[in-house]
Symmetry: C2
Subunit: 126 residues, 2 copies
């Protein structure tokens, strides 16, 4: 089988899961080039839908995602990438996981403390 990049405008969905803890850390998107770079470098690389270009996760922060294992789903349009996450957090807002808000009686509430100070890591960079 091959990945199905055609279904969603050249992209597959990539779920990033911590290899050790099993926590889901983030969801990104990969085009064929990002997927190839991920394999070549061993560092999760995405295609930014908003910026329209590739980005190596952790390029600015150093919080890279080192690939341990990749699975795909039955219809080949999603990836599960199990990683060793370098650094304290994946989210640019300072949290360990981008999924730091839980639904609580109909409201999204922040459910954990920050793992690092994002202004110290990202400074003025976007």
């Amino acid at each position: 089988m091959n990945l199905d990049f055609a279904k969603a405008d050249g992209l597959v969905t990539a779920v990033i899961q911590d290899y050790a803890s099993g926590r889901v850390l983030m969801v990104g998107y990969m085009n064929e080039e990002a997927f190839r770079k991920t394999l070549e470098t061993g560092c999760a690389t995405f295609y930014s839908r908003s910026r329209g270009k590739l980005w190596v996760k952790g390029e600015t922060s150093g919080h890279r995602l080192m690939v341990k294992e990749i699975s795909t789903d039955c219809d080949g349009d999603a990836l599960l990438v199990r990683v060793e996450a370098l650094g304290p957090g994946v989210c640019h807002e300072g949290y360990q996981s981008c999924f730091f808000r839980k639904l609580d009686h109909g409201k999204w509430r922040i459910a954990e403390a920050r793992a690092y100070d994002p202004s110290a890591v990202y400074g003025g960079k976007p």
Copy 2:
């Protein structure tokens, strides 16, 4: 904050994770109606991009996904839905998880045995 349905044609990505084991079971997509139905019924409900309509996961098979907890990510365009999965498997091909193929030296290989016989569960139904 609110979910951002506008970014991807009215859909958010929904990662389904087993609440007990932490295994990622599938990735689906929800429009606003599917999300509301998921909350109302407690059963994960998706929007099928290929069929262009809502589907309650497990409607045919009985393998429903009972919602235990929902998180959203920093930009509100993805959900992490932790579930109790009823039945032996989530995948219509008979596997516990849709992510049953692992990348092994550049090839996708089936990495586990089927959990049930899909022809017995789905019969002639699509």
